[in-house]
């Protein structure tokens, strides 16, 4: 059930949220600190993989909710972070399986060009590069997008990528090499 599925009567029944919070994997203070460290990069990951910032907003909330409800103990902050990215990856996969209402808008790149400061050549060039990247990423297979983002945007190790994507660590090198070569070719063509 997504947050949007809650009805007014559901909320009316909620006399206290403290009991619910007690079932979470961490305290509120610990969650706030963890969220502040990770939310932006998770949002970026979701936004680039879905190509839809609004969808990224929804999936972000869902990812943290599932993370809290999972109640899994983690040996380190890195492990906790990888677990969160695994949840985010699974959410994106679920979303891809659902029938699409509309095509991914890739709005962040285009919108940015429209709002770029015309005085700033750097801003305009940056927007063009991001649009090229968004177009190129859209032409890759979903798994290639996941791999490349985790490896080169997040800086995850092969072992971490394997854990996050549910793949064998030994296969990451080859998959990454192929995906990288493909994306490099697309970027040189300007994403077309």
């Amino acid at each position: 059930m997504a947050w949007r599925d809650l009805t007014v009567s559901d909320v009316d029944q909620l006399s206290s949220t403290e009991e619910a919070a007690a079932s979470f994997a961490m305290t509120e203070d610990a969650f706030r600190a963890f969220y502040d460290r990770t939310a932006r990069s998770v949002w970026g990951y979701l936004s680039r993989l879905t190509g839809d910032p609004a969808m990224a907003d929804d999936l972000l909330q869902e990812a943290y909710y599932r993370f809290l409800r999972a109640n899994v103990s983690h040996e380190s902050d890195a492990h906790r972070r990888n677990y969160l990215f695994r949840i985010a990856t699974n959410l994106v996969r679920d979303m891809r399986r659902r029938p699409r209402v509309a095509e991914s808008p890739l709005a962040d790149g285009i919108g940015n060009i429209e709002h770029a400061d015309p005085q700033s050549a750097d801003a305009a060039n940056g927007a063009v590069r991001r649009l090229d990247l968004a177009r190129s990423m859209a032409r890759l297979k979903p798994r290639e997008r996941d791999l490349l983002w985790l490896a080169y945007a997040q800086g995850s190790s092969h072992k971490e990528i394997a854990e996050t994507l549910g793949l064998k660590a030994a296969s990451i090198k080859l998959l990454l090499f192929r995906a990288r070569r493909r994306l490099a070719g697309l970027l040189r063509e300007g994403g077309r």
Binding site: L14, F24, Q61, L68, R69, R130, A184
Partner: protein, 168 residues
């Protein structure tokens, strides 16, 4: 087949720490002549810059908002989960009531035949007729209130149970 280069790690580090391309010296010359590293720079730089921009521009909801929504949703789910066994219990109670009512009706039907047989026995045993007739009268007079009491108990018990659990 994978083409590899021993300087991939150096290239990745230069991109990740923002040293590429201005502060790389001979590495830039190597990349210009190495296909593997050239691809790596193209991809790593684009994704690194994109992530930096997305992280800068991202406006995720506050931690407090996400926490609050999560607690409300968890509470709603807990309420739904708690309501599920009560519904099952009500169904079981209903089935028990129907079964018990059918059982009581059967027993009552048989007891009527028993009364007839006792009456016939009473006729044949004239000497003890008065005593047996008084016992039959007692059963006929008090059978209905007992039946009503049992049925009321079967109906009220699940209701009382439901009200008790619903208050929690």
């Amino acid at each position: 087949m994978i083409a590899e280069c021993v300087r991939e790690a150096d290239v990745l580090e230069a991109v990740a720490f923002g040293r590429w391309p201005d502060r790389c010296g001979d590495l830039a010359a190597h990349v210009a002549s190495c296909e593997v590293c050239s691809d790596l720079v193209e991809v790593a730089r684009a994704l690194h810059d994109d992530r930096a921009w997305l992280c800068r521009e991202a406006q995720p909801p506050s931690a407090g908002m996400v926490w609050w929504r999560a607690t409300i949703r968890a509470r709603a789910e807990a309420a739904r989960t708690a309501a599920r066994p009560i519904s099952v219990l009500q169904g079981i109670a209903g089935a028990c009531f129907v079964g018990a009512a059918a059982g009581i009706a059967t027993v009552a039907w048989h007891s009527i035949h028993w009364m007839d047989r006792i009456g016939e026995l009473a006729v044949s045993l004239e000497s003890r007729r008065a005593d047996i007739a008084s016992a039959s009268t007692f059963a006929a007079g008090h059978g209905l209130p007992i039946l009503i009491a049992v049925a009321a108990g079967l109906v009220l018990a699940p209701l009382a149970l439901y009200i008790t659990l619903a208050d929690d």
